[in-house]
């Protein structure tokens, strides 16, 4: 048979690779900055844009979508062409994908710093950007499937299965979680409310980790590890089981992020069971990776690429062991809302994602420039610095999480809480400092890589189009009868549909009953919609990213009920578009903040938190005292909420601002009565925020006393 000559497109891989490096450094810098802000709040520069609540989403989004995203695209485009023995489907689509994605990243960076956020973790980007992501994702899909369809290799190697599952699942997750109703060009409300919003969000959040940070990277592992070790994967059979079991089980586990919350119990248990089962496929994959190196460990000593991979795969194994442990309810009772979670995700982020990204960069770049790595020694130093950085990051965070959580739960013999919340925070300040040193070491390692890669590129000549040849596929070549399974794994579209069916099942089983069975969200008669001023205040709360440090979910534990009040009920959140339960308590829970302190306390606290709580780590929010509240948006917001089913009276949008003004006046009168030195006018943003904070959790106080809160099931 005639072999065909063709060329691999290295240019697009180069572009994504360089973007990976750039955004990796930017994302890590943002991470280091927020880490320092936690123990040194003044380092926020007292600017709205650079304060923790806005910078932290920038860090997470930059690392997930810009660093790991670009690294995955680079690795996928490099390996896909070679596994399919074909150039990418369309150069034009490749470049639309590249520039489109970078434009999304730029738009994300700008809007997040402006405080334009949906308030849902890792899905913070506002609706126009959500649409852009969908379009670019379709472009990526067409390009990938086009390449697969014109391939010259009959079989689809397992790495490609992982890429297919990534594409289809991320599409599904992104669309379902981003359903929102636009209020203005850069503001929207989540379609879902309260418990349902939480379930959809964490179904998304958990599976974004699974299908954006895990499956594409596993695909890369299955290609680059055998390449770097120059031997096939340990067990291909195991890799098939790994793939199907992983994508099937992962999707069910989301509710483990909501243990002990107001989510229905059956959904929590479902999440726990599937999380525990996840150990099996994850460890199957880890062992498959490590066993690939059997008899080749001498190469690990020589080759920095393999060094990074070994630690990456080990970290994958560690975090996928830890994940199921954290999803056990008794462990979660200690770990949740604490820094333990932060440690856990950074084993995954720094170890698994970061190190695997570094390893493929060190592998691809010398190959694409037809040269050798400038300095293996420098790369080895990067490896050690990074590894020590990870340890120095994670150990203090584990310690801090454990210690703080136990302090929360301590009682004196008299039955009083032993520690104030603030004491439990200031106590772990040294851990926060150690963590930022670990992060800094990791960043220095990454900068060494930048230099190493720069020198490598300078010493080689870029091969934009790499020549290759292969025989074309002939239809009907496999005329003899085959097993049906071999037929399936040769058919990419069938794979796509099968993967979608599999991942959809888990989501449907969780969501349909939560949406459709009324008893899952018992209503409480006294829970009423927010007033216009409170709604505006709530949007300020979301804008400033308060949910990155404050939860609004009191779990049914003795210490939490004692510290914060009656535990949270599902029915209290029915008007919360989006929900604001949070996932981390750097500050105390705010679910029942309403009425605990007076208005002037909040006013001064926003101006300077340390004036009211000495030693507090909260940033100053001076601009809230200066900024005028934009009331022109009130009618549109009320209309949007009405569309979503919040029972405001008909025509209320037209008179909402009158009520808003009245409530603002009364709050200002209160503040002046409490502290006559405070000079505040009703048109300021801080007034709206105070209105919201004072409303939090108060509705059920209106329920008749001396009997359990009635839940109308």
């Amino acid at each position: 048979m005639q072999v065909e000559k063709f060329y691999y497109d290295n240019k697009i891989v180069k572009a994504f690779g360089l973007a990976t490096i750039l955004f990796g450094v930017v994302g890590m810098l943002a991470g280091l900055w927020v880490a320092i802000q936690i123990y040194y709040p003044e380092s926020s520069l007292n600017l709205a844009a650079t304060t923790f609540g806005r910078l932290r989403p920038l860090h997470t989004n930059a690392i997930i979508f810009a660093f790991v995203g670009n690294a995955s695209f680079a690795g996928i485009y490099y390996s896909l062409q070679r596994l399919c023995k074909a150039r990418l489907f369309s150069d034009k689509l490749s470049w639309i994908h590249f520039w489109g994605w970078q434009a999304i990243i730029a738009a994300a960076a700008i809007t997040l710093l402006m405080g334009k956020t949906t308030g849902k973790e890792y899905a913070e980007l506002e609706w126009p950007i959500d649409i852009a992501i969908t379009l670019i994702w379709v472009v990526f899909g067409i390009n990938m499937f086009g390449t697969i369809l014109k391939r010259r290799e009959r079989h689809l190697y397992v790495a490609i299965w992982f890429y297919i599952a990534t594409w289809v699942t991320v599409a599904m997750l992104h669309i379902v979680n981003s359903i929102e109703i636009p209020v203005s060009a850069l503001k929207s409300y989540s379609w879902y409310a309260g418990v349902q919003d939480a379930l959809v969000q964490w179904w998304y959040g958990h599976n974004a980790v699974a299908f954006f940070l895990t499956t594409p990277v596993l695909g890369l592992m299955y290609y680059f590890l055998p390449k770097a070790a120059n031997r096939p994967v340990y067990s291909y059979r195991l890799s098939i089981i790994h793939f199907w079991a992983l994508i099937f089980i992962y999707i069910w586990a989301g509710p483990h992020h909501l243990l002990y919350t107001a989510l229905p119990d059956w959904a929590q248990s479902l999440g726990v069971v599937f999380s525990v089962m996840l150990i099996a496929p994850s460890w199957g994959g880890m062992l498959n990776g490590l066993f690939t190196l059997r008899g080749a460990w001498d190469k690990v000593r020589e080759d920095p690429v393999l060094k990074f991979m070994v630690v990456a795969i080990t970290c994958y194994g560690m975090s996928t062991f830890e994940g199921p442990m954290l999803s056990l309810k008794n462990v979660n009772a200690i770990s949740h809302f604490s820094d333990w979670t932060i440690a856990h995700v950074h084993i995954g982020g720094l170890g698994w994602n970061g190190f695997l990204a570094f390893s493929i960069l060190y592998y691809m770049i010398p190959k694409m420039w037809g040269t050798n790595l400038y300095s293996k020694k420098l790369a080895t130093n990067h490896f050690w610095l990074g590894t020590i950085g990870i340890i120095l990051y994670a150990v203090p965070m584990y310690w801090a999480g454990f210690e703080q959580s136990l302090m929360w739960k301590q009682f004196t013999p008299e039955g009083q809480l032993k520690y104030e919340f603030l004491q439990t925070v200031t106590n772990i300040k040294p851990m926060y400092i150690a963590r930022s040193i670990g992060g800094a070491l990791y960043l220095v390692g990454a900068l060494m890589m930048v230099y190493n890669i720069y020198k490598t590129i300078a010493s080689g000549k870029f091969i934009a189009n790499e020549a290759a040849e292969a025989a074309p596929l002939v239809k009907g070549e496999h005329a003899k009868k085959e097993y049906w399974h071999r037929v399936i794994e040769r058919k990419p579209v069938t794979m796509l549909v099968l993967s979608l069916v599999l991942v959809a099942i888990g989501g449907l089983v969780q969501m349909i009953p939560t949406f459709l069975v009324k008893s899952n969200v018992p209503t409480i008669a006294s829970v009423k919609p927010y007033t216009p001023l409170e709604l505006q205040g709530r949007d300020i709360y979301i804008r400033e990213g308060c949910y990155t440090c404050h939860s609004q979910m009191i779990r049914p534990f003795r210490d939490e009920v004692k510290r914060y009040g009656e535990y949270s009920k599902a029915g209290e959140f029915v008007y919360d578009h989006p929900f604001q339960w949070g996932s981390k308590r750097t500050g105390p829970d705010l679910a029942r903040e309403g009425g605990k302190r007076n208005d002037s306390w909040h006013y001064i606290h926003m101006y300077d938190p340390r004036a009211m709580s000495p030693g507090s780590l909260m940033p100053k929010y001076e601009w809230l005292l200066r900024n005028k509240l934009d009331v022109s948006s009130t009618p549109a917001k009320i209309r949007a909420m009405k569309t979503l089913g919040v029972p405001y009276p008909d025509g209320y949008d037209k008179i909402a601002n009158d009520d808003l003004a009245k409530q603002a006046e009364s709050i200002v009168a209160n503040i002046k009565k409490e502290n006559e030195k405070i000079n505040v006018t009703p048109d300021k943003e801080v007034v709206a925020l105070i209105a919201y904070l004072q409303r939090l959790g108060r509705d059920i106080q209106a329920e008749p006393k001396k009997q359990p809160i009635a839940e109308n099931k």
Partner: protein, 53 residues
């Protein structure tokens, strides 16, 4: 427009649990049958694909 209350009276919602379990067991049975009925030679051949380029 509201999501809650739509299928409040959904009949036999209890069947979802059983269906889920069945899907789960069936899925693993089919997958493991597939994997273990595939010949080792074929798998070895496929696992060498990354090394061929």
């Amino acid at each position: 427009m509201k999501f809650i209350n739509y299928l409040e009276k959904v009949s036999n919602v209890g069947i979802m649990g059983i269906v889920s379990l069945l899907i789960f067991v069936l899925f693993f049975t089919v997958m493991l049958t597939w994997v273990f009925r595939t010949k080792k030679k074929d798998l070895q051949e496929i696992s060498r694909i990354p090394l061929d380029n």
